[in-house]
């Protein structure tokens, strides 16, 4: 039976369709990895290093083996021959240090939480009990916690020895120069030097990591709370030698990632090895403290930035010198994250010259890697902070300084100093809209009043006019940057005999709503009802080709692959329909799922009718196959460049240091919007995470390398009571680099908001002489900054 077409619609794209995903998520019918049960399944618990740096003298698992319910217990040495080294897919320079990274430590541990042994038992309770019976003897070695100290001549080494990457804590230096920096700086009226810190963050997706692996003869099915099932399968095959085609990886419901599940983890490798060795299904699920200690961290940079400008505010040049904390090892894209920032430091501004250098540094801490924005929030923070300081230095309104330097709408496409070609943008429109919504002038007037009256609660206004590079990524660019894979995405469209549609995508949603958005795209392109489309993803056997979901890439790259695959289906259907209607293909029109013969009143043939005819295959056009299915692998020619203007007003209680966000306005331009509901949601969540970096979150280590913020009681993930409502709006300047005109929205809010908030806090405190604050701007830091500025003023006054 074909489905009788409903009133034909081609307006799904752009409409706020409610999400298909919700039905199971709001009823508890979820399929998180930790929900998965297998007959005979064993549970794994890991014993983890309490030392940031130590030599492993001995591991004794024999007593653990005697505990009730325990099947096996292993040390790293037990897997030394087969566990390989966890992969790094982004060796940014040829001479980059790439030390061995065994999934379970064998000789030495290099961060607190590194796995040294594991216990496999009948259930998680028995495994937890038996873990206490494992005895490990350590010989402590000096911790290396501070990046700058790590680079000193006499610093202890994270990786001693003589292999590649051993014998030095400096992992790599990645330089980039464009234009004549010396001339730009030499001729400038003003040169401003600033040092900014990007504190270390913990991604803290709500779903803890979890992995289940089931052996099936010489094959394995591995479920994991991952963003990247395809990359994971490839890397597991390369790491363990299990042939790729014998390995099926499934990402079931995944509860958020934010980059933290863009990884190939020790536990995933070990789950596979344990299933292979024990011939039983195994499960491991992290505790929150394990997660905070051993799921990769984000950010952690020291940024030395210099900006050169004329007295009228025109920027001449920018110099950026980064120290980036790699942590103890190079994980999947650890070194690439700060390097990606190289392209984003110039932001939306025109300048003559730019130089960038990034030094990767090993420390005895959890490795850093991608966290929402990955390199771009750090860069955007640097440029948006120093632009604000430059405005103050030359006595100009910070928005005016930005206007003078940004790429004007009529100048697009524009190739910036860092070499990227920004295809489209309209910074004027977004800024005009934002300042109007925010009442910029009114708040500035209130600020003046409060300053004049010496109000103990001061008002600060922060600006962030950002852009970012999304749609990762053109494969040729990734190749030039030494990344180990391409940036394409795959989709295939299967027309079922009843006219229903299966869209198979290589993207892998973990909260982003692809099932809904991809359905909207396919419904429009194929002219079928939204409800008739099912989106399949996240299983390498169902969706065998894919590059997965990260870097705000899925709609721009994966969505385009869906568009192309749908269009190919339509072309095949057109030929079939012409045959059915005994008309010339060239005379057929396709609108809203119906083929008609131009200039005639002949009844239409629907897509569903064509699908059934293709299935029956009784009468196919000459040489045609009995299928309308098609696929596409789309590789973008360029990145896309979302942009926007964010404005933040904070009230700062100067007596206590408490910061309260009074208003936050975000006007983003993410190009064509497929689903405004989903886009707004992405912006809201992004803002929350960016604000959290500005005001709340920091992974803190003590001098011995212990993570002090190892629970949700110590690491302050903000709740509803800590965050304000947001005013959001959009301008739409379609991207020209993909047929959808979309730019990506997953990271925009996070990238833009952190500098907007910190600029606002600094703005509130500027009358006290405060010019910078370390993040997070906690009440204590704010209070101390005021107190120190007052003290400095007093002592200066005294000297006079």
């Amino acid at each position: 039976m074909t489905t009788a077409p409903e009133a034909p619609r081609t307006d799904q794209v752009g409409s706020p369709r409610l999400r298909k995903e919700d039905a199971r998520l709001i009823t508890g019918q979820t399929n998180w990895t930790d929900n998965i049960q297998q007959t005979g399944m064993l549970h794994v618990a890991f014993l983890r290093s309490p030392h940031a740096h130590a030599r492993i003298v001995a591991v004794d698992t024999s007593a653990a083996m005697q505990q009730p319910g325990v099947t096996a217990a292993f040390s790293g040495a037990d897997f030394a021959e087969e566990q390989g080294s966890l992969p790094c897919a982004w060796p940014v320079t040829e001479d980059m240090a790439l030390p061995e990274h065994p999934p379970m430590a064998v000789d030495e541990v290099r961060y607190v939480g590194e796995a040294v042994a594991c216990v496999v038992a009948r259930d998680a309770y028995a495994a937890a009990d038996a873990l206490e019976a494992v005895d490990v003897e350590y010989e402590p070695l000096p911790a290396v916690v501070d990046m700058e100290a790590a680079l000193a001549e006499d610093s202890p080494l994270v990786h001693a020895g003589s292999g590649q990457g051993q014998g030095r804590n400096k992992a790599f230096v990645w330089p980039f120069t464009a234009g004549d920096v010396d001339t730009a700086f030499g001729g400038a009226d003003i040169v401003l030097n600033r040092r900014y810190h990007q504190q270390r963050l913990i991604p803290a997706a709500m779903e803890p990591r979890s992995v289940v692996c089931r052996p099936e003869g010489d094959s394995f099915t591995l479920w994991s709370a991952t963003q990247v099932p395809h990359i994971l399968r490839l890397m597991l095959a390369m790491t363990t030698g299990v042939p790729e085609h014998k390995l099926r990886v499934i990402a079931p419901d995944v509860g958020g990632g934010f980059g933290s599940k863009l990884q190939v983890t020790a536990e995933e490798v070990l789950a596979l090895l344990l299933a292979r060795r024990l011939r039983k299904p195994v499960k491991w699920t992290e505790t929150r403290t394990e997660g905070f200690q051993t799921t990769h961290h984000g950010r952690d940079q020291i940024q030395d930035i210099s900006i050169a400008a004329d007295a009228d505010g025109r920027i001449r040049g920018l110099k950026v010198d980064l120290l980036a904390d790699m942590g103890a090892y190079m994980m999947l894209v650890t070194p690439g994250v700060p390097v990606l920032g190289a392209f984003m430091f110039p932001g939306i501004y025109k300048m003559d010259a730019y130089s960038f250098s990034c030094t990767g540094v090993f420390t005895t801490k959890m490795p850093t890697d991608a966290y929402r924005g990955a390199g771009r929030p750090e860069a955007t923070y640097g440029i948006e902070r120093i632009m604000t300081e430059l405005a103050d230095e030359i006595g100009m309104d910070p928005m005016e300084l930005r206007r003078r330097n940004w790429i004007r709408h009529e100048e697009f496409p524009h190739t910036g100093v860092a070499g990227l070609t920004y295809d489209s943008g309209n910074y004027e429109a977004a800024t005009d809209r934002a300042t109007e919504l925010f009442d910029y002038d009114g708040l500035r007037a209130e600020q003046r009043r409060r300053r004049d009256s010496g109000d103990p609660v001061q008002l600060g206004i922060g600006i962030s006019t950002y852009t970012e590079m999304c749609g990762l990524a053109p494969s040729r660019v990734l190749g030039q940057l030494s990344y180990g894979a391409g940036g394409w995405e795959n989709a295939s469209v299967r027309m079922l005999p009843t006219g229903k549609v299966e869209v198979v995508t290589g993207s892998c949603a973990h909260g982003q709503g692809h099932a809904t958005a991809w359905s909207q795209i396919a419904a429009d392109r194929l002219g079928v009802p939204f409800e008739d489309v099912e989106v399949l993803h996240g299983d390498t056997r169902v969706s065998p080709k894919g590059m997965d979901t990260y870097g705000s890439r899925s709609l721009v790259v994966g969505g385009t692959a869906v568009v192309e695959a749908c269009d190919r289906v339509v072309e095949k259907a057109r030929r079939m329909a012409a045959h059915m209607m005994e008309a010339d293909e060239g005379d057929l029109e396709f609108t809203a799922g119906r083929f008609t013969v131009r200039g005639t009143e002949r009844p239409a043939t629907t897509m569903q009718e064509v699908a059934l005819a293709a299935f029956a295959a009784h009468d196919l056009p000459e040489g045609a196959e009995a299928s309308l299915d098609a696929d596409s692998t789309f590789d973008p020619e360029n990145f896309s460049f979302p942009h926007g203007t964010h404005l933040c007003a904070v009230e700062v209680d100067t007596e206590t240091g408490e910061v309260d966000i009074r208003a936050y306005t975000a006007v983003d331009d993410v190009g064509t919007v497929v689903n405004p509901l989903i886009v707004d949601g992405q912006v809201h969540g992004g803002l929350a995470q960016g604000i959290a970096q500005a005001l709340y979150e920091e992974a803190v280590h003590d001098a011995d390398g212990n993570l002090l913020t190892s629970t949700m009681a110590d690491y302050t993930v903000p709740t509803a009571a800590d965050l304000p409502d947001f005013t959001t709006d959009r301008t739409v300047t379609p991207s020209t680099t993909n047929p959808l005109g979309a730019k990506g929205v997953g990271e925009a809010g996070t990238i833009a908001s952190t500098p907007a908030v910190v600029n606002a806090v600094v703005d509130a405190l500027r009358p006290f002489g405060v010019r910078d604050l370390r993040m997070p701007c906690t009440p204590q830091r704010v209070w101390r900054a005021i107190a120190e500025a007052r003290e400095a003023e007093r002592s200066e006054g005294g000297q006079r």
Binding site: Y125, T287, V700, T719, A721, P779, Q780, R784
Partner: protein, 283 residues
């Protein structure tokens, strides 16, 4: 995170609870379990027996006890903050209780549990201290009453012995007093960086009497007696109360931790005490 094994007893009355505790090697009393369960899960506590007091219905509820209110130790935070008698006679307790953790925790957590846990960052010990609450304790040697000033001994340490059960806390009826609990924390759900429990009795336009307890300014809750003295006879004006609060940190030994260093806590104690007094005085 999974607790180590323990045995579990849920006595039906206080006498049985005391008997059970006497028989155990290393028991832990569980009231609402909201602090104890995480400790068990992290295996920071290894009791052989958990003695769950949730069966002791006699320890639940608020009763009128003459010039005092008797709040059963197992009365939940949620019950305390909604109790009409508490609201009428001891609003400081209600106010502070509303700031404890979050609604779900307040449904399980109890007044007695919070006080016996004696975390100096907890909100209720400072209230009990400021109001000179009386702690009713049952032990092997029978019942005894302990004054708040003696109850809190050190960080997470009270006068309670292993075999003791805190049965009730008696708070004075604060007729003629007005009060305010000022809590300062880094995030809504977080522990107080500093808290101030303040109660004032006004006589015309001046402060006749004040009581002030400080949260998280030492290893135990601290009474700001200097400020209490300085307040006496002071006009009920914000500036005057602020001035009187300048000695709030005198005699305290605030901790240095992730949230705050001691000097900041001292500063906060002064500012927040001034604010709490002003709010209590309605100015």
């Amino acid at each position: 995170m999974i607790p180590a094994q323990f045995d579990y007893v849920r006595p039906d009355d206080v006498a049985e609870a005391v008997r059970v505790l006497a028989d155990c090697e290393e028991p832990k009393v569980m009231a609402g379990g909201q602090s104890l369960t995480p400790l068990l899960r992290f295996r920071l506590a290894y009791p052989d027996v958990v003695v769950d007091l949730s069966g002791l219905t006699e320890l639940r509820g608020v009763t009128d006890d003459g010039d005092r209110l008797r709040v059963g130790a197992m009365t939940t935070h949620d019950e305390v903050m909604r109790d009409p008698m508490v609201a009428q006679h001891c609003d400081l307790l209600a106010q502070a209780t509303r700031t404890v953790a979050d609604p779900a925790v307040r449904h399980r957590g109890t007044l007695g549990g919070s006080l016996a846990h004696a975390d100096p960052a907890g909100d209720l010990p400072a209230v009990a201290l400021a109001l000179d609450a009386e702690f009713m304790v049952s032990g092997e040697d029978g019942e005894r009453t302990v004054q708040a000033s003696e109850f809190f001994q050190d960080y997470l340490t009270t006068v309670l012995d292993v075999g003791d059960v805190l049965t009730a806390v008696r708070f004075p009826k604060m007729g003629g007093w007005s009060c305010h609990y000022e809590k300062f924390s880094q995030a809504a759900q977080a522990w107080a960086i500093v808290g101030v429990a303040a109660a004032v009795r006004l006589d015309g336009g001046t402060v006749a009497e004040a009581r002030i307890g400080l949260t998280n300014m030492g290893s135990t809750p601290v009474r700001a007696r200097g400020v209490e003295e300085a307040c006496r006879g002071v006009p009920a004006r914000a500036d005057a109360l602020r001035e009187a609060a300048q000695s709030a940190d005198a005699g305290t030994d605030p901790p240095n931790d992730l949230n705050a260093r001691a000097d900041y806590r001292r500063h906060l104690a002064r500012v927040l005490t001034g604010r709490a007094l002003a709010r209590a005085a309605g100015v």
